[in-house]
Amino acid sequence: MTWFALRTRAALGLAPTMVPVSLYVPLGFVLGPRVLNVLSYDVLAHLDGVVSVALATLGVFVGIALARQARTSGRLIAAASIESAMTIVVVTSAIVVLLLQWQVPISGEPGLIALVLGTAAAASSAGAAEAGVALSDRLALTVADLDDLVPILVGAIALSLAADGARSGLGIALAQTAGIGIVIGLIGWLLFERASGPGDRAVYVLGTLAMLGGAAAYVKYSPMLTGLVAGAVWRLAPSRADEIIGADLRKFHHPLLVLLLIDAGAQIGPYAEAIWLFAPFVVFRLTGKIVGGWAAARLAPELAADALGAYLFPPGVIGLAVALNFQQIEATSGAVIVSAVAAGAVAFELIATLAAQRPERTA
């Protein structure tokens, strides 16, 4: 009941940290070009820039959160990273084997498609679950919060490979992505505290976020990684930059996340390949999360593997963001991946709902 109440509050925008995937993704599909055509292909093309900014904003949140926890919860970050890395390995290797064995007629490199699906599967949404009172529950929630680092890094690698890996070399591409994040992070750091009023500050915050998303999109790099690096710079730099941007972001991060989900829903199409990929994605993500949870619990014994699994099942917005970002670069296979991941995200949220309701009934 509590969970349902929280969901309702989130749907009404009263709990901005929670964004119900199962509400906004289907809404996006209905509004999209295949049903009502309110979000036509033309409108979606215009939204492309806003999506890049939203992706960078997500990265900023993750960067600030990780940098904040880095000093005190290094072991939990390591556990969370191992959990998401295991999920990536499980989902990617299983799907690549299936794609090659069954010779699915999908356009694009099978290894790359599997890697993107694996990366999208790795993120979890801590906000979708309700924190328990036990220590293991709270730690599990923290792990679910911190497991976005590896998906963002691997997503950036996949994106560089898709954009044109041979252009400058993978290492250089990643270094340039991080460099963009550092430079824009420095610009924000120089400006945020010196703004003469709320209007000026809004200009600087919006401007730096648009630069983070826009610069990465312009050179076909990952906006989430530029955002993550900038977020870390703002947190680690000796100033209140992270608090300032955090306060301003709170005002519009919920609309941006809703926009991402609606955009993902609008991109869903009746692709045979997406229907084919949906089942393996769901099954192997479940497997990956269980294996990943187990591995994380081995590294940090205070984590209870069963509690961890329950918190890791809900899908993360980051997963959808990875798929959407890939689709910006690789339109054809990207549309298939977004469709599979979006449908999978709705399915996982329903699974998470059932998992969350069962203890309440017994109680």
Partner: protein, 440 residues
Amino acid sequence: MPSTAALLLAVLLAWALGRIAPAGASVRVAALALGFALVAAALAGTLLEKLRLPRVTGYLLFGMLCGPYLANIITRPMARELQIINGLAVTLIAFIAGLEMNLERLAPRFRAMLRLGGTTMALMYVALFVLFWITWPWLGIAPALTGVQRFAVAALLTTLVASFSPTVTIALIAESRAAGPLSELTLAVVVFADLLLILVFTVTMQGVRTAFGGEAEVGLLMSVMWEIFGSFAFGAAAGALFAMYLKFIGREVPLALIAFCATVTAAGDALHLEPLLSALAAGLVVENIAPPRGDSLKLAVEHGALPVLVIFFAAAGASLQIDALATIGGVAVAVSLARMLFIWSGARLGIRAAGLGPGPSQMVWMGLVSQAGVTLGLTLIVAAEYPAWGVQIQTLMVSLIALHQLIGPVLFRAALARAGEIGGMNQGVNPNPESLITNP
């Protein structure tokens, strides 16, 4: 120093991105153009403010210097993407102007404002027309025209040159948070002149069509009426809905404000309305009929307006065609000087006719120099319909707009500063009508 460092970093980053961008990157440039323009133009505005110049001029200069006609850091595709925000910006600016117009406060001065505006405009129209008629062979616009045709084209040119820019005036008032008699008087005159411009342009275009043997469009007057009255009616209805939203929901006001302005802009395009008038009417309704409680709208305007203004003026700067000014710079400077002289003398005569005494009203002419988007839009209509001589008019007008965009805000800010009205909104200054009107 930190601002300069940040500006340098932003410019360097934009330059470096241009070097590492893959082929075809220009199609995904919108967010970068917006971000770069926001940060760098805002910083340029701040730097100019330290020199006691308007921020708006900083945004314009930044756009001009970094734009495709000079440094090309803002490339042509970037400049095109920045233009997307224009419609939204004009609507938001006009809405803010409506919010600043309290009819109860303005009512005692309404007649004086009309007299001032009417006299100024009348003198400008007459003087500019006579000037153009006499100097026609040297203007470089179809010098062979004679008789009725020359009369009609000179009248059309007069209409365009005599126009003001409500957008720049309102933006400058909003950006400098100015409040007081000079702000209100200037605002009233430019809005009045804008209404007059739409009417007179329609009539003169009909005259040109008749003079050049074409058929006057019978429905055009009706469409102008629709544009004016329909815009006001639509804006009033939209404003009432927005006031209800503020009263009964009142959440996410900055986002709601942007969405409201986007809706008014889109509806204006679809229904052939004038978004500037619609938004002005909406602001008037919200301010005068259903004023919101609390500061939510004020804060939303403060948060929402500045980013839009920065982008709008940076885009305007990037699109300033410096090459046009270089082509006919001499004629443009001469026409610009004559225009300023007629504005000054017209305003002086208007002040006397309106019975306004000494004080801030003497500086109202300094707020009337700017020219911008509306004039450019009308010029494009002329050039499209009469390419033979319309293109020369377009070149002259583009040059004049470039000049007046740079000079106008500087003059108006100086006037506002001298009148002590800058920052008046922050101090809750309630303009005292007695300081403006000396007659009963």
